[in-house]
């Protein structure tokens, strides 16, 4: 393989027995064991990555169709409308016009797919799997077969979710939050409905991420290479460790809640159904006595930590790329580590800021808004540290760096707009408006997605031995940045004007009328936003082509360490073989020793002996 430089090849030839055994295994495996049912963390990482990108695309297609309905309510969707009618039937897309039920299904599935099937698997499953063992100098994950099971559970969950579009009644249509009682009674005509599939899918996905997080934590605790002390771990590893803890402890309550809702939906229990429900003018024949708010508590107990699951790995990726491309250590590495732990801890006790308007008393809501304000501080610390890390650097503007740099202000805007939501008094006005949509999309779309794209461009050479095309990378970056902002910035205006989310007609019902104040600007903005969203989709074409084209035709990298990085992931052969390291690495220094005075070259790899 071309990636091997002389030294690594020599080491390869001379390496110990363990390495040889690992390598031999590798050759004996058939195609199926090697690429499909592989237990190698790198193959699994790539599997996660490709599947997640596919779901990212699915999530985008859903929203692209919804944006038509938002911009031009009630008009048939050109071309794709007929396709929808043919595939899903005229009940939901008559003459290519999206029905309210279809809109709600797409909305719920967009949220679910983006969060649970696209971003988390990409950030945690793909990057975590591929990079963490490399960065800590481990030969693989602690439990390789569990790792494989984790991927296949994820795959099964994805299949269940995707299949639910095609069952009678269509996919879940009660929002990604699936609030009861709506989730239970939205589709009374079908006993097994989209919500059932959603719940089963979630249970499988939760199992997958539990397996994953057990594996990650055990790996990071147990398999660090000799010399890799806690404070020598790259920030990315820390971010993944905290993320894994969030998944481990926050997901089970949702699994419990999911089981209870499943019982409500198929066994007729009333965990989340209060007594005295009257649906369509008839008392509902259930035992009653349940609590709808209980579902919300259990959902948001996961839901809030989940958003940090989305952002922490992204911050980790950005930190790696910034340190590498400013050619200097991260500013305040230790305080960043402590801040990420603080985020992890606090994120378990802020959840009810999503529930201010459920009739909360003063005491409890004061508690939750105080913790919400507290959690913004460690975020500020991490972001500030990353900003300040730029100072004094020698900044290289390559594609990964451009994406990573854009992450900073985008996350900044998203995080800052969390503040008026976090104050319960202002949330009275902003709750469930497009302000919320704007807030979190700034964090997850131009924020997390940019960080993930940065990661793709950054680690691509390690995985394939080739670089992605730099020019098209820049085109991808510039257009994405522009369109992302054109999509999400106007949403704050819409929200302030009072436009609610999950509106099938884009708020047209609430348009201003003679003598009645209503939405005026928001409805106009809908059209612009939709066009920007479609252009945003088009802007990904260079990326997709670049991504596949470069596998075979990209510029080959010279050496194993094309970015001249310090962390151990770059100390492996390219691409890393089964077992990863040519010889077991020994760590002698901290993660970011760039440009230290009196050293040869401007970087010192972690495994270079003192």
């Amino acid at each position: 393989m071309t990636g091997h430089n002389g030294a690594a090849a020599a080491a390869h030839a001379a390496h110990g027995a363990g390495g040889a055994a690992g390598h031999d295994d590798h050759h004996e495996l058939g195609f199926l064991r090697k690429y499909v049912f592989s237990s190698d963390h790198k193959v699994i990482g790539v599997q996660y990555g490709l599947t997640a990108l596919l779901f990212l695309f699915v999530g985008f297609v859903l929203i692209a169709l919804m944006r038509w309905q938002l911009a031009y309510p009630g008009e048939p969707i050109p071309v794709f409308g007929r396709l929808l009618e043919a595939i899903l039937g005229p009940e939901v897309a008559f003459k290519g016009i999206m029905s309210p039920d279809l809109y709600n299904s797409f909305g719920a599935m967009h949220g679910t797919i983006m969060v649970f099937l696209a971003v988390v698997p990409l950030a945690f499953g793909a990057f975590g799997n591929y990079v963490v063992p490399l960065q800590i100098g481990a030969p693989d994950m602690a439990f390789p077969r569990l790792n494989m099971a984790s991927y296949w559970c994820y795959f099964l969950g994805g299949v269940l979710m995707f299949a639910s579009f095609f069952i009678p009644g269509g996919a879940a249509k009660s929002g990604w939050t699936s609030y009861s009682p709506l989730a239970t009674i939205a589709d009374l005509a079908h006993h097994v409905d989209g919500q059932t599939f959603w719940l089963l899918g979630m249970v499988v996905l939760i199992t997958s991420s539990l397996l994953g997080s057990v594996n990650f934590i055990a790996t990071i605790i147990q398999l660090r290479a000799p010399g890799m002390g806690w404070m020598r771990m790259p920030f990315f590893v820390w971010a993944q460790l905290v993320t894994a803890f969030l998944l481990l402890l926050a997901f089970p309550p949702l699994e419990a809640a999911g089981l209870m809702q499943l019982m409500d939906n198929i066994a007729g229990t009333s965990f989340f159904l209060p007594s005295g429900l009257v649906v369509s003018g008839r008392p509902l024949e259930v035992s009653g006595g349940g609590s709808p708010l209980l579902w919300q508590h259990l959902f948001w107990f996961l839901g809030h930590p989940e958003v940090y699951v989305l952002i922490l790995p992204a911050m980790g990726i950005v930190a790696e790329i910034i340190a590498n491309n400013t050619r200097k250590p991260l500013f305040g590495y230790r305080s960043m580590v402590y801040a990420s732990m603080a985020i992890g801890f606090l994120s378990f006790i802020v959840w009810a800021h999503h529930m201010y308007l459920t009739g909360m008393g003063t005491k409890i809501s004061t508690f939750f808004q105080t913790t919400t304000m507290m959690i913004s501080i460690p975020s500020v610390i991490i972001l500030t540290s990353l900003f300040i890390s730029l100072w004094g650097g020698s900044i290289r503007f390559n594609t990964p760096m451009l994406f990573a740099l854009s992450f900073l202000p985008m996350f900044g805007i998203g995080g800052l707009t969390g503040l008026p939501l976090g104050f319960n008094a202002t949330d009275i006005q902003l709750h469930d408006t497009y302000y919320v949509i704007g807030h979190f999309h700034y964090v997850v779309a131009p924020g997390t997605i940019f960080a993930l794209l940065a990661g793709v461009y950054f680690w691509y050479p390690k995985v394939t031995g080739r670089r992605m095309n730099e020019f098209w990378g820049r085109v991808h970056w510039a257009t994405s940045l522009v369109f992302m902002n054109l999509v999400f910035l106007p949403m704050f205006v819409q929200g302030l004007e009072g436009m609610s989310r999950r509106m099938y007609d884009g708020g047209a019902t609430y348009a201003a009328q003679e003598g009645i104040h209503g939405l005026a600007l928001a409805i106009k903005l809908n059209v612009g936003i939709s066009h920007a969203a479609w252009l945003l989709g088009l802007a990904q074409i260079p990326f997709v082509i670049n991504f596949f084209w470069s596998i075979r035709h990209g510029e080959k990298v010279v050496g194993d360490n094309p970015w001249e990085a310090t962390t151990l992931d770059w100390a492996t052969p390219t691409p890393p073989p089964h077992g990863n390291f040519a010889s077991p690495p020994v760590v002698a220094r901290g993660p970011y020793e760039y440009s230290f005075a009196g050293r040869k070259g401007d970087f010192t790899p972690q495994n270079q002996p003192a």
């Binding site: 605790i221 803890f245 402890l249 926050a250 309550p253 609590s291 708010l293 209980l294 508590h297 107990f301 378990f348 006790i349 009810a352 529930m355 459920t358 009739g359 909360m360 008393g361 003063t362 005491k363 409890i364 508690f367």
Partner: protein
């Protein structure tokens, strides 16, 4: 637990038997206690949960060797305990604040 030699294991085995007997006794006591009226049902609940906690302590402490486990595991379980208490406590607090203050 980290017994290295046969003697330790035999020692431990005896302890397991004691614990086993204690657990059986605990079960009997719980059942009997549930048929006694302590006046207030809350007391009954308290007694039953207290006995259950003692039994849980025995199982976790001896059968699961938590009495002599590594710091790492204490840390993990401590954190889990805190989050569990937070989950349960805050949900109940939120509902109480909502339902029992005035008309909320």
């Amino acid at each position: 637990m980290h017994e290295q030699n046969a003697h330790d294991v035999k020692e431990a085995t005896r302890k397991y038997i004691y614990v086993f007997v204690a657990l059986l006794l605990g079960t009997v006591i719980t059942v009997i206690a549930s048929f006694i009226h302590f006046g207030n049902h809350a007391v009954n609940i308290g007694v039953a949960l207290f006995i259950a906690s003692c039994k849980a302590f025995l199982v976790a402490g001896y059968f699961m060797h938590l009495i002599s486990e590594r710091k790492l595991i204490y840390g993990l379980l401590g954190a889990t305990g805190i989050f569990f208490v937070g989950l349960m406590g805050l949900i109940i607090f939120a509902n109480a604040d909502q339902l029992f203050t005035g008309f909320r």
